[in-house]
Symmetry: C2
């Protein structure tokens, strides 16, 4: 296998990951004299802030994703390849991927994060994360099939397990999915499941820290908590989940909550890439970069977005929050800096400009805060809608999401309640297995046998 991309006289920029940061960078480098190669393990860009609405049957995956090839229609200097990055060989300027190796002049890591299970294998196997569209669809299917199952299951104990929904992690994602499920309980379940007593369905939101939405003000935290409690969500703060066994979430203080819907949104860990010097890996697996997003100790490798850790921005000595805005701003600046490098000019350091943060809890309920303004409730909710709608790529997707929202708002309905699994063709299954054997065997390939 190979990339099948010929070298030109232009410098080659290889970007790993087409999330907010990587895509911004690629677009800003377009038409500025580079050969740009973007690789991503998916063939589409996705919009993570709305993934929870896919999980709660409010939106289709296609409404918040966009195929890279369509984005780059007609761009002769940008090449997309669906692949996973494996190892980097800095001294040879070569990146090894699932579809072969590629040499680069500049390598940009923008591969984001993955769910962090803090080393607990049982939680990793049993819990349902919600970081990707695939996971969100799987979660949707599991929630719906647990509801069906609760009606016909054999014992009361199993019914209790099926009707308890436990969400671990009180960040924005946890708050948003808790709110969405609470609305489903209130508006959809009584109509769809006349044979069920909705008061038997319990939603738990568990947070290890002392407040929800730790990234926002205490005012916002308190308001979000109040909103959720009013919607019937059981919130436990200062509680740490230590295990999951026999369909029970087990907490550090000995408390147990029986559940078969165990949602894990309790933190992230940066995606790894093999063969980087160990000393550049910082807290949460994040790759340490200098003020120009250059990976420490390397010449031509950069890292942007959630995957990197920059401690040289004076307002953020412990690193930036892992938010879309940081990635976008870093992508934009890095594009400028690469152009400057090419012109023999000095690069400019990164300073994060906080444009505000927000989280939605439910109909007419959100919290938002900007430099000078803090607001909660209806206005914050409208702001949230506008900001997110503006940020979704593509006119068609914008229309789609808007129509879905309007429809749901007036009908009190999340209507995509179909349990559908894409059946995997044998050819695809075989290929995946073959590739995982080649690349992830017992012994990681050495530089010698690969290059």
């Amino acid at each position: 296998m190979s990339f099948n991309i010929a070298r030109t006289d232009k410098k080659r920029v290889v970007i790993v990951g087409g999330g907010f940061g990587g895509l911004k960078l690629a677009n800003e480098l377009h038409k500025s004299g580079f050969q740009i190669i973007l690789i991503d393990k998916n063939n589409y860009h996705q919009f993570p802030p709305l993934i929870y609405q896919v999980a709660s049957s409010g939106l289709e995956p296609s409404s918040i994703s966009f195929p890279f090839r369509k984005l780059f229609n007609g761009y002769k200097d940008i090449h997309f390849r669906m692949a996973e990055a494996r190892q980097v060989y800095p001294e040879k300027h070569i990146l090894q991927t699932s579809i072969g190796k590629i040499d680069y002049d500049y390598l940009i890591l923008a591969a984001g994060t993955t769910s962090n299970f803090f080393g607990n294998r049982r939680i990793e196997t049993e819990a349902m994360p919600m970081k990707t569209l695939s996971e969100a669809m799987g979660l949707r299917n599991a929630l719906l099939s647990n509801l069906e199952r609760s009606i016909t299951c054999a014992t009361d104990q199993e019914r209790r397990e099926l009707l308890n929904i436990v969400i671990v992690g009180g960040g924005a994602t946890g708050v948003e999915i808790a709110g969405a499920i609470a609305e489903m309980k209130r508006y959809v379940i009584p109509k769809d499941y006349p044979e069920m007593d909705p008061s038997n369905l319990h939603i738990f939101l568990i947070e290890a820290g002392n407040r929800l939405l730790a990234g926002m003000s205490t005012e916002a935290s308190a308001k979000a908590e109040k909103f959720l409690r009013n919607m019937g969500v059981n919130i436990y703060l200062n509680k740490k989940v230590t295990d999951y066994q026999d369909h029970k979430v087990i907490l550090e203080d000995g408390m147990e909550i029986p559940t078969r819907s165990f949602i894990w949104v309790s933190g992230v860990r940066a995606n790894t890439i093999g063969n980087l010097p160990e000393e550049v890996i910082g807290r949460g697996g994040r790759i340490q970069v200098d003020a120009y997003n250059q990976v420490k100790g390397t010449e031509n490798i950069f890292c942007i977005g959630d995957q990197c850790l920059m401690t040289e921005d004076k307002n953020y000595p412990n690193g930036h929050p892992q938010l879309a805005q940081v990635a976008i701003q870093q992508g934009r600046l890095l594009a400028k800096n690469l152009k400057r490098l090419n012109q023999g000019k000095a690069m400019r350091p990164f300073r994060y400009k906080n444009l505000g943060t927000m989280a939605t809890v439910g109909r007419n309920k959100a919290v938002a805060e900007f430099k000078t303004v803090k607001t909660q409730g209806w206005l914050a909710w409208i702001l949230w809608l506008v900001v997110h709608l503006r940020s979704i790529l593509g006119v068609r997707n914008k229309i789609n999401v808007l129509l879905n929202w309007i429809w749901s708002y007036f009908t009190y309905d999340q209507s995509l309640r179909m349990i559908v699994y894409a059946r995997k063709a044998k050819e695809v299954k075989d290929r995946e297995e073959r590739e995982s054997k080649v690349h992830w065997g017992e012994e990681p390939p050495t530089t010698d046998n690969i290059l």
Copy 2:
């Protein structure tokens, strides 16, 4: 496990399958004094005529499906259960299902058909059928990932295999998916895959009979063939596929076509239900019924739609074509007949009223024929659009499909080109495995140990 539905003083009608026939029957029996229980292995009704557009990235599954529970909102006499029928015990009036047993006064089998691989295990394992939404999504994912793969694969032979798309079966589904892929080749591939020479992508449509669309007039067949040939589809008539080996479709005459996109739409076989007397199973596994859709030799079991074989309609001595219209008309009449039975009146025999047949080939190209009118081309295409749009359930779905069609028409684009697999939660996987062991173990359960 159990159904958890108490008996009332009303007679209980159990319907297996919520396709066109079963759903029509349930809706027509609503408010007429029965207790109606509909079981289906999915939690949604689907619209098979448009499944090919899901496979070809034109529509989302949610646009052509509708959750049963939403359909039955507020209907106190209709109960839905997600379950698979296993065996029937006619003498005890009991149906055994994946969620336990249920007793009935009337049992209606409306479980439709499944793909027929004519006993070839290798074809069954390797080919991609397109009967269900899951299969259509799997096919979409496989087609898209094969295109990606064709750019980076190691050998020319593999590239050829990845770029040949072989469709076996020249009925309406085969013609429609061939047309949709041909349009993708023409309008989408050149833009999305600048590194690919579209002329290397070959579409083959193979039919064992001597014409396409055997259910329609020879005029329609000829026109559909002409349309497809002009769109660049390679059509082979009178060719029988006998095997698939080493990524090659093997034909009876020795011809071989290398392909990794092997689509099988070559015929159907009625779904089976255990423990029915062998003599009632007719051609294609269809259950033989009398003129009232009553299963021969039983008292209170009926079968409607694609799953049944009725030879007593004088215009259709070999049975009806397996079409939506037949199922709908049989469902409607059976509802009347069950009401008549309840009133001690005699049932009325079924006569199929042919409302016409149609198939679409591509933009502005379709074939349609009614009792007095045959038309091909633009007018047929408009008729096809109107008829199908009218038949889709739900205002929201109609709007969705219409907007998608308008968008695709003007942009020449099928824009849902994301490869997404729903990740299955371990809990769901475990449950499926457990259930399949309980119900499909080595030894089928006997009447004694089950009841």
